[in-house]
Symmetry: C2
Subunit: 430 residues, 2 copies
């Protein structure tokens, strides 16, 4: 066996000099243009309302350090060894008790799957449920990471209309009635939605549950922000509504503890789906970091400590939300409107209809302020005048200064053609 020559034609090459040939699904997975623009806004001196970032000064850093020392001293080898795909059992048991106490789900711990962040949960749900072309229903606008996950499995993502109260039950009914094929599931964030900050009322929850049950429509409920409620009573999970048939519920430690640990969980109504999700997780990464899971468990296992920590987060985030709402009222020009969330991390702003928030962001470094334009959150025709503001990451004084900058950015160019959306310009010239 010596010199080896190609024994057949090797087929056509792409224009690139690479011999890699990517899968068809990659056509749906283009890097986000917004992400590229946002990189520019990471310059020093920029006040950023862009990321969904918790406040790092409120991370329980000392508690995590104590937990790390304890775990590595008492249980080091197990914390550094391979673990089971399903997750660290004491954490799974804590999730069970936590869900029973907070959102009304009664599941056994063996129905809990620990994931490497909720984004992985969405990826696994997609892998288990979505065939190319399958319709999936989402709130419109919808969390961008969920859209990316569903599209990466070539879902036909269908946006359901929302209003100031969130998903419209009538619109859900109408979408189900007119869909060419039965959707695989409805994806929804009932509490302090990303990007709008809006929560569903009790009435809407009941209606959505009834529609889902009647149409045998599984509900994938994402609840990263539920604990971050600043006022009022926390409702039960949408998926825990009476009559709800099949569901998957995703929770996470990212927003109330620390996102950098990448520890989240999901539970589901159906043992067969649970098994499939476990198999998908095993294939995706074997299991979630054994040390990270133990760190989270050590930090949440005392109900008193956890309640004190969450209480502090709520107080600080509520003040920051108030500071942002005050600044928006004070600085934003006529014709702007925004949501008034009772919790979570985000406020959603609608600029005057002529303004294009993506074009605005391209000029954001002028005023050293960053945000996420609404465009990528929309399914179908985007409302280009919308944008998302995060209020949890910056101090109150920085929030005020940032909103003042944002208003200067808006005010300095209200009639600049570059800021008007194409559609709007067409409408005006028509």
């Amino acid at each position: 066996m010596n010199a080896v020559l190609p024994s057949r034609s090797v087929g056509s090459r792409s224009g690139s000099s690479s011999v890699f040939r990517t899968a068809a699904r990659m056509e749906e997975m283009r890097p986000s243009a917004i992400r590229e623009i946002l990189k520019v806004t990471e310059a020093p001196g920029v006040i950023s309302f862009a990321g969904g970032l918790p406040a790092p000064d409120l991370f329980p850093t000392a508690a995590v350090a104590r937990a790390a020392a304890k775990i590595l001293a008492e249980d080091g080898p197990a914390a550094l060894q391979y673990g089971t795909t399903e997750g660290f059992n004491p954490l799974r048991e804590w999730v069970r008790a936590h869900l029973a106490a907070t959102v009304g789900h009664s599941v056994t711990p063996d129905r809990v799957l620990v994931t490497h962040g909720s984004q992985q949960g969405l990826d696994l749900v997609s892998k288990v449920l979505i065939d190319p072309g399958d319709p999936v229903l989402v709130e419109n606008p919808c969390y961008l990471g969920a859209l990316q996950a569903f599209r990466s499995y070539q879902a036909d993502v269908i946006g359901v209309r929302t209003d100031a109260g969130g998903l419209l039950p009538d619109a859900l009914e109408e979408t189900l009635a007119t869909a060419a094929r039965r959707p695989k599931f409805l994806y929804i964030i009932p509490n302090f939605q990303n990007p709008t900050g809006v929560s569903l009322s009790a009435g809407r929850r009941a209606e959505i549950a009834r529609i889902a049950a009647a149409h045998e429509l599984p509900v994938v409920e994402d609840d990263p922000y539920g604990l971050l409620r600043f006022s009022g009573e926390s409702p039960a999970a949408l998926s825990a509504e009476v009559g709800m048939r099949d569901w998957i519920y995703l929770g996470t430690a990212s927003k109330f503890l620390a996102p950098g640990l990448r520890v989240a969980w999901l539970v589901s109504s159906d043992s067969r789906i649970h098994e499939r999700l476990v198999t998908a997780k095993q294939t995706a990464d074997l299991h979630t970091s054994a040390l990270s899971q133990r760190l989270v468990w050590e930090c949440v296992r005392s109900p008193e400590t956890l309640a004190a920590h969450v209480g502090r987060l709520r107080a600080v985030y509520a003040s920051r939300r108030d500071a942002m709402l005050d600044a928006l009222a004070r600085y934003l020009p006529e014709g702007c409107s925004w949501t008034r969330p009772a919790g979570g991390l985000f406020i959603w702003v609608a600029l005057p209809a002529l303004l294009d928030a993506t074009a605005l962001l391209r000029r954001a470094t002028e005023q050293r302020v960053a945000f996420v334009p609404g465009e990528p959150f929309w399914v179908g025709a985007p409302k280009r005048n919308t944008l998302r503001l995060n209020f949890s990451n910056a101090s109150e004084s920085r929030i005020e200064e940032g909103i003042a900058r944002l208003s200067r950015l808006i005010g300095s160019t209200p009639n600049s053609p570059g800021l008007m959306s194409f559609k709007t310009k067409l409408t005006r010239s028509a």
Copy 2:
């Protein structure tokens, strides 16, 4: 809007009472029967050679504890906050330098993607490259987790013949010549392969590289065990061979540091594929745990400390390999053969042709010893008389006792019909 009734037929329901409908790919992702059998062998008193587990007593637990204290004291907020998808930059720079020093790859740090274990790397590679039905070439037998990842994206996995020296270049050439469609890539573990422990010679590496280049066949090289070489010189990566065209190389901290941290990396020859892998990673889980990445970096950044640690692992694992080879020679009955790896974690055993290792495992609790039968590692017709033994996890005395038990298990039932494979029985009765 009140009572809501289904407005159209909801289509047929499956036999299950669940309204979930799973994706077609889940037909390829059935939970492993072997995994279920292995659960039974987790009983106390069982000596297990089944897992690919590093020795937990050799984990640098104290060093990880010191690193955790330092990171959380000096850089706590960043270690607990969201990070970039590509990974923690100092770790990426370390990977660049490490690969240049150990396997001959010269890449820039921006070509390094940190993953949540190499299993995630395999999942991302599959997601980016595999369309349903795409041929993918693997060594036969092949690492089970890779088979699962490729099949989860509905690849047509084609096994290429191997012998005691690993992948046969002639067989690769023949497979490429007869494949109905050009394979998307060749997946290969050139050092201390899982499951066989076999390494490729310099001659075979050169031949495989030449064949891959001639056929424009990208090579996905998985190298989790390369640092665990007990004797001889470490060769450059297969993907660093002269003339190699496009490749992806996967490395990991799991085997030389600690698998429970779930920190691995991949590098690739092509910037476009790198970008696609980053996009896939962002969709899969946003990024790898920020704390875990910093822990790994703190533990590997001193070359002297790392060399001392790896030296200790090599010495202990070499002794354990020797203990297992000695015990196999002493205890196993006539007609058995096995590999003699120069590193890694595994020895591959061929029992007499009449014996079925899967059937043997079902009775393994009788002798309180566990292993992984060869069956699931094979593509196509399995050699049922094969099995994989891990030598890194148990002490030398436990290894000797475990192999004695294994030989009793084999010896006690050499002619039991239940232990014979179906194929073998057919042959005998013919």
